[in-house]
């Protein structure tokens, strides 16, 4: 591990000022909160900051539910949010996505802000034995393209990077139309989570719209009739403590047995949490028992086929026309 200086600023504005000294990419100064991802990146020499700015005690960890919706403080842990009775009752997809993530030890430590900002699991990014990684070093190339890339993105990838976004929480939040409250030296601004992560294009090293020094202060989820009937389904190689091969977050606003409005996002297969408006449109008006309609709504056949060239064939098949929405609908006991 590269040696670093741990800064423990007394208040948030001091922390923002410290981090703002560094540039936007390959920053010699980085934030650390729960540290569950940062410690791995440090130990594997993926990140080598000169200084780490601790956010411990500087951000709030409140979980507030009101008529407007849900507000999660950036420092709330995954365990706190998952176990909150109002979150589990009114926004079950959030609770389920969190409980499907990591392990209890990690969930006790990891924060909301850090979860959304965690780095990709692409093995070529995590292994500095590979020189080529445009995320680590822009212009060095992408070793994952043409390599073993069963875990990589089939949606939103570019010729410069095919890394998938690993967060479960962010997929649930994108399905529910959540926003991120961003705080910087200039004040606070709100960004829709769907627009928060950037697609890799030709600058895969810049992953979010955060400016240097900015932090996530809170996440807000608007109240919506679909939120209560929501479900997170995670397909993975082992039953627990594993990242998703593919994971749909589905929220349904029901009109009797028919879907009035559907919100659907996919994890594990996109360069960022991937909302699928065409699937949502295809599901509107369909009945939960109408398996033909549900199958027809299965997403992204053509993009998946296109990306399968980059990916192992087997992985490309993962999101081909398998009726995972039909499967999710089997959990409709939760939705009624």
């Amino acid at each position: 591990m590269h040696p670093f200086i741990l800064e423990r600023p007394r208040d948030l504005s001091a922390a923002l000022a410290l981090r703002a000294q560094a540039g936007r990419d390959d920053a010699p100064i980085e934030y650390i909160a729960g540290g569950t991802d940062m410690m791995q990146l440090l130990q594997e020499d993926v990140r080598k900051p000169e200084r780490l700015v601790s956010l411990a005690g500087l951000l709030d960890n409140g979980i507030d539910i009101g008529p407007q919706g849900l507000r999660l403080g950036a420092a709330a842990t995954m365990a706190e949010v998952a176990a909150h009775p109002a979150v589990a009752g009114q926004f079950p997809v959030i609770s389920e996505a969190l409980l499907a993530s990591a392990s209890p030890q990690v969930r006790n430590q990891a924060t909301m802000g850090g979860n959304v900002l965690q780095r990709t699991r692409c093995p070529y990014f995590r292994d500095v034995g590979y020189a080529a990684c445009n995320k680590r070093s822009l212009g060095s190339g992408c070793a994952a393209i043409g390599g073993e890339n069963r875990w990589n993105a089939v949606l939103g990838a570019s010729d410069h990077c095919i890394a998938a976004h690993p967060s479960d929480l962010a997929v649930a939040l994108v399905a529910l139309g959540a926003s991120v409250k961003v705080r910087g030296a200039a004040g606070e601004r709100a960004v829709a989570l769907e627009d928060f992560h950037r697609l890799p294009a030709d600058t895969p090293h810049i992953e979010t719209v955060l400016e240097p020094g900015e932090v996530i202060a809170a996440i807000t989820v608007p109240a919506h009739p679909a939120a209560r009937r929501s479900h997170y389904l995670k397909l993975r190689d082992r039953a627990s403590f594993e990242f998703a091969l593919v994971s749909p977050a589905v929220a349904l606003d029901m009109d009797g047995p028919q879907i009035r409005e559907a919100r659907v996002a996919l994890g594990g297969v996109g360069a960022k949490p991937w909302r699928v408006p065409k699937v949502e449109a295809a599901l509107a008006g369909a009945g939960l028992d109408d398996r033909a309609a549900l199958r027809k709504a299965a997403p992204c056949r053509r993009p998946a086929a296109r990306c399968a060239r980059r990916r192992s064939r087997a992985a490309g098949r993962m999101i081909l026309p398998r009726p995972w929405i039909a499967s999710a609908s089997r959990s409709r006991l939760r939705w009624t």
Binding site: P123, R126, L235, R238, A239, S327
Partner: protein
């Protein structure tokens, strides 16, 4: 030697007997497994493993059973998830750490792992009648799981691990 005042010499000719040719003294086992495969998602979960072993005199039944169960769980990993993914371009293992290389966790282990030792007295193997138990714990379970997946789905997967994409 001091008392005798001269060196003592002795030689012995020791050769293996022919017991290994006359008797088969191996440990044997038979393994059965029950799996559930989700028809939509093709995720496989092991529901039950039953193993019966003839392995001579069992000196410590408790630790022997534990070793069997450990072997069964290890082989669930072999059957369903463990895979060193080698990049053919340079021979580097791309998942060379436990963050990306999946081994079974508690949630993968079935509630029922039934171990039976078949009573066996082998007077030929050695004076105690004991046999090695280490390797046989991880022989057969992956094959039994593969057979159970075939029975459940009609798909004969020839290459481990049996991940969901191979059953789609």
């Amino acid at each position: 030697m001091d008392r005798i005042g001269e060196p003592v010499e002795a030689s012995v000719d020791l050769k293996p007997g022919d017991a290994s040719k006359r008797f088969s003294m191996h440990a044997f086992g038979a393994v059965f497994s029950e799996v559930a495969v989700d028809p939509d998602l093709c995720e496989t979960r092991v529901r039950r493993i039953v193993g019966a072993y003839g392995a001579g005199r069992i000196v410590n039944p408790k630790t022997s059973r534990s070793q069997r169960i450990g072997g069964m769980i290890g082989e669930i990993g072999m059957a369903l998830m463990e895979h060193s993914v080698v990049d053919p371009r340079n021979g580097r293992v791309t998942n060379a750490n436990f963050a990306e290389y999946a081994v079974p966790v508690h949630a993968d282990a079935p509630a029922i792992m039934d171990v039976t030792f078949v009573e066996e007295h082998d007077p030929h193997v050695n004076p105690l009648g004991v046999k090695g138990l280490g390797e046989i714990a991880i022989v057969g379970v992956a094959a039994a799981i593969g057979n159970a997946v075939f029975h459940a789905t009609g798909k004969r997967v020839r290459e481990l691990p049996i991940t969901p994409d191979k059953l789609l």
